[in-house]
């Protein structure tokens, strides 16, 4: 039995008097693709931010590869090198080209020299199908292209774990496919991914595990077919029902 890559244990987080996460337990092995679903405000983004320490936690532990990253003496910058993040709004660096976005981390954080960073950056852009846009600025790219640059930027740090926070929900429907394709490709290549997304196509075809989070608690988790077809909890059933009605009407 190897130890899990990510091990979240009894995690609590509140903002002021508002309890956002109330005792979350979650384990992921290397190569797992876990899709996190749940209603708005249930704490999905907060959970991701706790994993790469963009937010402080109140209690509990988050361990990456056996190391508790929430200890005060833990090096957050060291942790963030190992955990990549892809954002809903892309958050690309507006003053840098696609290649510049991808190479900033390796150059400034890993201390890679400019030529090597560029060479590897091109490889990562090629992985997301954007080598021909290496010199374009974010404002010159479509939403789908921007998000693929966002993914390449995260990949460039060679992370152990990739976090995605609703990577397709800011996109026009016709652009969702190209991003999902890239994500599915990463999943196939064995990259460990924790994905907040209600993109059912991706969840069904690429996820190893679905986790349903509601009101700061994990209500239920399991493989996609089990969770989607035979959910145990009433709350899960109700949420999935709502999700379905919302998606009806959109092709």
């Amino acid at each position: 039995m190897t130890r899990p890559l990510l091990d979240i244990d009894d995690l609590y987080k509140s903002y002021g008097s508002e309890d956002v996460l109330e005792g979350v337990d979650l384990e992921m092995d290397r190569g797992d693709v876990t899709v996190l679903i749940g209603p708005s405000g249930s704490g999905k983004s907060t959970l991701l931010r706790c994993v790469n320490q963009l937010t402080d936690i109140d209690s509990g532990t988050v361990a990456l590869d056996g190391t508790d990253v929430t200890r005060p003496e833990a090096d957050v910058n060291e942790l963030r090198k190992q955990v990549g993040m892809v954002f809903q709004d892309f958050n690309l660096f507006a003053h840098l080209t696609a290649l510049g976005n991808v190479t900033l981390g390796p150059r400034k954080v890993l201390g890679m020299d400019a030529d090597e960073a560029r060479e590897r950056g091109r490889e990562h852009l090629e992985q997301v199908g954007l080598l021909d846009q290496a010199d374009s600025y974010p404002a010159e790219l479509s939403g789908g292209q921007q998000q693929r640059v966002g993914i390449a930027r995260a990949l460039a740090m060679d992370p152990e774990l990739l976090l995605f926070d609703e990577p397709t929900s800011a996109l026009d429907p016709e652009l969702v496919g190209e991003v999902v394709d890239v994500m599915r490709d990463l999943a196939d290549r064995g990259i460990t991914m924790l994905v907040v997304s209600h993109e059912m196509g991706f969840a069904r075809s690429a996820a190893s595990d679905i986790v349903f989070l509601d009101d700061g608690e994990i209500v239920e988790h399991g493989p996609p077919e089990q969770l989607f077809e035979t959910p145990e909890a009433d709350r899960t059933r109700e949420f999935l029902g709502r999700l379905q009605t919302e998606h009806e009407g959109t092709p």
Binding site: N52, M85, F93, H95, L104, Y137, A139, R153, M157
Partner: protein
């Protein structure tokens, strides 16, 4: 939209102005006594212009009422003659104004950058302190600030004691009091422009920088500051243009910059109108040069999607 500044005659005029100024200064400080003309002596003789003015005036008188336009021409020649005579005496003042403005803007920027970063990213006390400074400076007249530094502090004495001040090329202490005053003042305004610019860089980019493994400070340095500086360029141009003109206040503490020099000359010669019209033209040349240079910087650093891009 083509900018006014790229219009040819203006470019030629500015080029001539700067050519003259550098030639004048080189002559007066370096060549005088060897190959150059005498210090304060015009490059172009005044006499032909004065003569032209006289004959035009005579012609106008002989033409009677229809000679009015010729009379204007005479006035033009007369102004040209005066200008040629006075310009050499104003060159040092122009140079002092240029120095005063550029040094103050640069020092002000060096102070404004940390101030504005404290305003945006500092803790409570730091934010409060930076804001208080900005409001205190922006809420009081520049002339009052200048007088406080010059008359109410011992800054002048301290500066007088600094070796090198007032020797050779280095201006005397009043100039440096003005530089300090203008820098402190400009820092407050510039920090306000920069703060607004940094604020308008979407905070998600800083989060993304931190997620990539950069520290907050590195994220600010590599992501927020480059964009903020680009966004602040237009207001920076304004600041430069204002400071060129406000630097004339330095004449109140005896600095012989362009305005001070003009006033001194005018009180000696009583040629108030001609001299101040000439000074206005010279200020205009400085201001237009400043905005032309900043225009150049703006188009050089233009980036699609960062601030407003010109077509």
């Amino acid at each position: 939209m083509g900018s006014v500044v790229s219009v040819r005659p203006l470019t030629v005029g500015l080029a001539l102005f700067w050519l003259w100024l550098s030639g004048r200064l080189a002559n007066d400080f370096l060549l005088v006594g060897s190959v150059g003309v005498g210090r304060g002596e015009p490059f172009v003789p005044v006499a032909p212009f004065a003569a032209a003015a006289d004959s035009a005036a005579a012609l106008a008188a002989s033409l009677g009422p229809v000679g009015e336009p010729v009379l204007w021409l005479a006035g033009g020649f007369e102004f040209a003659a005066e200008a040629i005579g006075y310009l050499p005496l104003l060159a040092g003042g122009i140079w002092t104004t240029v120095l005063l403005t550029t040094v103050s803007v640069c020092l002000g920027f060096a102070l404004a950058l940390p101030l504005s970063l404290l305003r945006v990213y500092g803790g409570r006390t730091a934010r409060w302190a930076a804001l208080s400074y900005t409001e205190l400076i922006r809420g009081t007249p520049l002339l009052a600030q200048l007088f406080v530094l010059y008359f109410a502090t011992s800054l002048t004495q301290v500066l007088r004691g600094v070796p090198g001040v007032g020797v050779g090329f280095v201006p005397a202490q009043a100039f440096w009091v003005a530089v300090i005053s203008f820098s402190l003042n400009s820092a407050a305004y510039q920090s306000e422009y920069l703060r607004a610019a940094f604020d308008s860089v979407d905070s998600g980019q800083l989060t993304a920088a931190r997620a990539v493994g950069l520290s907050k400070l590195e994220g600010i340095r590599y992501v927020v500051v480059p964009q903020g500086l680009r966004l602040a360029l237009p207001s920076w141009t304004n600041e430069l243009v204002y400071l060129v003109k406000y630097s004339s206040l330095a004449s109140f503490i005896t600095v012989q910059e362009l305005f001070g020099r003009t006033s001194t000359l005018a009180s000696e010669t009583y040629q108030y109108t001609d001299l101040f019209v000439l000074a206005a033209v010279l200020y205009l040349a400085l201001v237009v040069t400043a905005s032309a240079l900043m225009d150049r910087v703006e188009s050089r650093t233009a980036t699609v999607g960062v601030g407003h891009t010109r077509q």
